[in-house]
Amino acid sequence: MSQSHPYMANSAEGSRQALLDGIGIADAEELFAQIPADHRADDKVQPVPGIKSEFELRRLIEGRLRGGVSTDSHISFLGGGYWKHHIPALCDEITARPEISTSVWGTPSSDHGRNQAWFEFASELGALLDLEFVGLPVYSWGCAAGHALRMAARMTQRSVVVLPDNIDRERRLVIETYAGYRELGGSLEIREVAMDPESGTVSLPALQEALGDDVAAVYLETPNSWGVIEHDVARIIEAAHAVGADAIVGVDPISLGGLASPAAFGADIIVGSIQPLGIHLNAGGGVGGFIATRDEERYARQFPTLQVSIAPTTREGERAFGMTLFGQSSYGARELGNDWTGNSVYLWAVRAAIYLALLGPAGMRELSETVAANARRTAELIAAVPGVSVRYGDRIFKEFIVDFSGTGRTVAEINAALLDRGILGGHDLTGSHDGLDQCALYCVTEAISEDDVRQLISALEEVVPA
């Protein structure tokens, strides 16, 4: 009798036999009769033995992982849209509960609690954004931006989208994918706007030049991909609106504890990453994007996402949570729906809901201030290292460009030397944009201590020739 497998209840001999007997067959092989013999590939699969022992399995996988460097083992100044913030323990505890973590799709009654958590995610994020219509999350910030641009194109029936030319490469490539190919239907044309090298923000004259009545949307980010807070959000949005385009703004939600939401300046769609809201980096697997607008039908009807709405039940005074506008999703309308949706990152929505509830209004304000203050101070200290300079250091939120070109060392060399000293240096911007060779993007959050910075500075002073 072969040993049964812990993952398969009916692999126990008696259970398997009971199924065979129940059907009245002798061998499960009979059930594969639909597959023609020449379709079978049984022999081609190389046998790999299963590991039934949890202990052996764990030793195998953890053995391979052992010794890996991470933002826990090292002091990390990496950022660029993926940020090391403190993760409250409760975010881990709640989302580890199998009722949540292994759930699928029940009825509004049987999965009431989880649906409520999704609603609370949208409510809290909406409060931070000052917007009342928030979709359940999409895969990433880049995907959110891509969908939002396509929403604008559908609404305006125009096809040009205006983008700053400094958007982080990973996100930019996603947007390009979503923009599509001009040979095919529904594609978007991307028109770039140069950054003003003086201010590190979008060049307003260049923007004006790019605008016209073919423009569906202007997309900007604040803080932008160089870490700089756009100081003229209102004017940029105004300019977009002046030509009948929608204004789409990408934000870091952590910044909105202290900064006003772009909605206050008229932004039509706000997108961004939920990763900083209690989600582990996971080597890039911790991302999620959001799309939010005013609660206006014009916008709501364009969402590709699912969203849950409060609704009454058949019992007086009781509330439940159900899908709104399901019919315009790809589940409801196949190719006639808005883009598409599917399995996304809804577990992260639960994390973000917990995160924002824990931080609360004062916590988000204080966090935002702590991050900005730490980043500013770190920028000052780095700028004091001989040969090293910092750009736009007075306009930053948590990231900033450090220019090592005056040191005679490449960023790659410097980062290798920092790694030896237990530090993950900033993201190398060499080649990403004119004028950024041997520059790096440094990120500083509340999770960076004064001592961490002191170690960085000492290391830089060692590494950079005097």
């Binding site: 009825t107 009342e132 790809s330 993950l424």
Partner: protein
């Protein structure tokens, strides 16, 4: 618990988690220009830490999750081993920054690479991308790769159509459309699959690709699939295999050997990764050597003993940022190693055994019929049923029955994707995890509810009765005056609740 919305809990001034103070001497006021500062703090709830914990613990307790008996068809409910959650909670996974130098997390990259090896073994494909964040995203990637492939040959302007079937998951036509293609949907014929003739009539020089699954989620296998692929290849199109229903054919069919150019596995479905309500998940996209240069970057390659990240030569760029949901890849790898190929084979056996066992018992229930009853061969890992006759008899719909079943600790079943080819459908999928006793109980509850509905239709129509909340009144969900996806909107439209 009668658990309020979080905005109804707590009190002003309460704190759940307090962020660290800055060590920098700078004061708050000078940090942000006055014109850009928030005027007042965001309207977030204010709760002590235990209040947040209790609230979300209650919400989880008000979620059946899959802690009852969930035979949710097309989603292949699997055991999601806790050990994998523990492994991926380690900092060597959870705290890795995607911009770290590859040399610093070789172990993690190696695991992902090994997973690719396993999937190559199972599919016969030459290369995989794990970037797609779900099955739909993998379908999108196929459309995107298809675009780049034909563009590279100068044929894109001509190849503007993608062919799929009425039984394909909605994501296939939807993503094809989103990528800019026109969609042609083949109807299902009386055998339960489209005819070769219909396909041939639909394809031609404008065909970019074929996208379908097989077996479909009625449990029907299209025995002419090779003819389909050949026909599409003949006119210059690509053939994509949505392997969402891989569970019934693991180790028995290989997508590449059937002739497909590309395929997709749902790692959150077939490979033991928890679904988390609705992701994070992974649509693993596999393809032939011919398509591999078009895959998105970064791709993990092994040079000697070192894993490195590269951009494929003709890369389509990205469908999302970075490597995808890496932590889920570790779980999938761990699950795959725990199962082994023998385990996968056994899982397919047990899935089919369980499904056919259920079929035997369900077909004995009055009012239950099967989709495409003319199809005599045993179904694969699931079967689609219909309550059409029962509805005619009692006026009760499949949704009514589903609601009532939850009262007995049975998670909601799956109905069917759009379009509903089968009226009043329901599609249980037993899979390899659930025990025979679970299946028996599921069947018994269905039988009980059907009888109950005959005796007392109102009882079933007004179900659920034992859940936290009663049946939702969804009449206002699509009405802009009543829908409310945020608490602020709810208060504005409906007062203070």
């Amino acid at each position: 618990w009668d658990e309020g919305v979080i905005y109804e809990l707590g009190a002003p001034g309460r704190r759940g988690v307090v962020p660290p103070q800055s060590w920098a001497p700078q004061s708050g006021d000078s940090l942000f220009p006055q014109s850009l500062r928030r005027e007042r703090d965001a309207d977030l709830p204010e709760l002590a830490e235990y209040e947040v914990r209790r609230h979300f613990t209650h919400l989880s307790q008000q979620t059946m999750g899959m802690m009852g008996i969930s035979l949710f068809g097309t989603c292949t409910m699997k055991h999601n081993p806790t050990v994998n959650e523990q492994i991926t909670a380690r900092s060597e996974v959870a705290a890795v920054h995607p911009r770290q130098d590859p040399s610093t997390y070789q172990g993690l990259l190696g695991i992902v690479h090994s997973l690719e090896d396993e999937l190559r073994n199972l599919s016969g494909m030459d290369a995989f991308s794990f970037q797609p964040g779900g099955g739909a995203d993998a379908a999108y990637l196929h459309a995107v790769v298809t675009r780049a492939y034909h563009a590279s040959r100068g044929e894109l302007a001509q190849r503007t159509h993608i062919v799929t079937t009425a039984q394909a998951h909605p994501c296939n036509p939807a993503t094809a459309k989103a990528a800019g293609f026109e969609v042609i949907t083949l109807p299902i014929e009386e055998d339960g699959y489209p005819s070769v003739e219909a396909l041939k009539a639909a394809i031609g020089p404008n065909t970019a690709a074929l996208m379908l699954n097989n077996p479909d989620d009625m449990g029907i296998y299209n025995p002419h699939i090779k003819e389909f692929i050949d026909a599409v290849h003949e006119v210059g199109g690509l053939a994509f295999y949505d392997n969402a229903n891989f569970n019934g054919v693991m180790t028995r069919l290989r997508a590449r050997d059937l002739g497909f150019d590309a395929c997709m596995y749902m790692l959150h479905k077939t490979f033991g990764v928890p679904k988390g309500g609705n992701g994070p998940s992974v649509g693993a996209y596999g393809c032939s050597d011919e398509l591999a240069p078009f895959l998105p970057g970064p791709r993990i390659v092994k040079n000697g003993d070192v894993y490195d990240l590269i951009e494929p030569e003709h890369s389509v760029g990205r469908v999302r940022e970075f490597l995808g949901n890496v932590q889920q890849l570790v779980k999938a790898y761990s699950w795959t190693r725990a199962m082994g190929t023998d385990g996968l084979r056994e899982a397919s056996d047990l899935s089919l055994l369980a499904n056919n066992y259920m079929e035997k018992h369900l077909m004995a229930l009055k009012g239950v019929t099967m989709s495409f009853p003319g199809k005599a061969l045993p179904r694969m890992e699931m079967t689609r049923y219909s309550l059409e006759e029962y509805t005619a008899e009692t006026g009760l719909s499949t949704v009514d029955v589903q609601n009532r079943m939850t009262d007995f600790g049975i998670d909601a079943y799956w109905l069917a994707h759009e379009p509903w080819i089968v009226p009043e459908p329901f599609t249980p999928e037993a899979g390899e995890m659930w025990s025979k006793e679970d299946l028996d109980e599921w069947i018994a509850v269905l039988a009980h509810v059907l009888e109950e509905g005959r005796r007392d239709p109102e009882l079933v129509r007004t179900a659920p009765h034992n859940q936290v909340v009663a049946q939702i009144d969804g009449s206002g969900l699509d009405n802009p005056d009543t829908w409310a996806v945020t608490w602020a909107a709810y208060r504005r439209k409906h007062g203070n609740g």
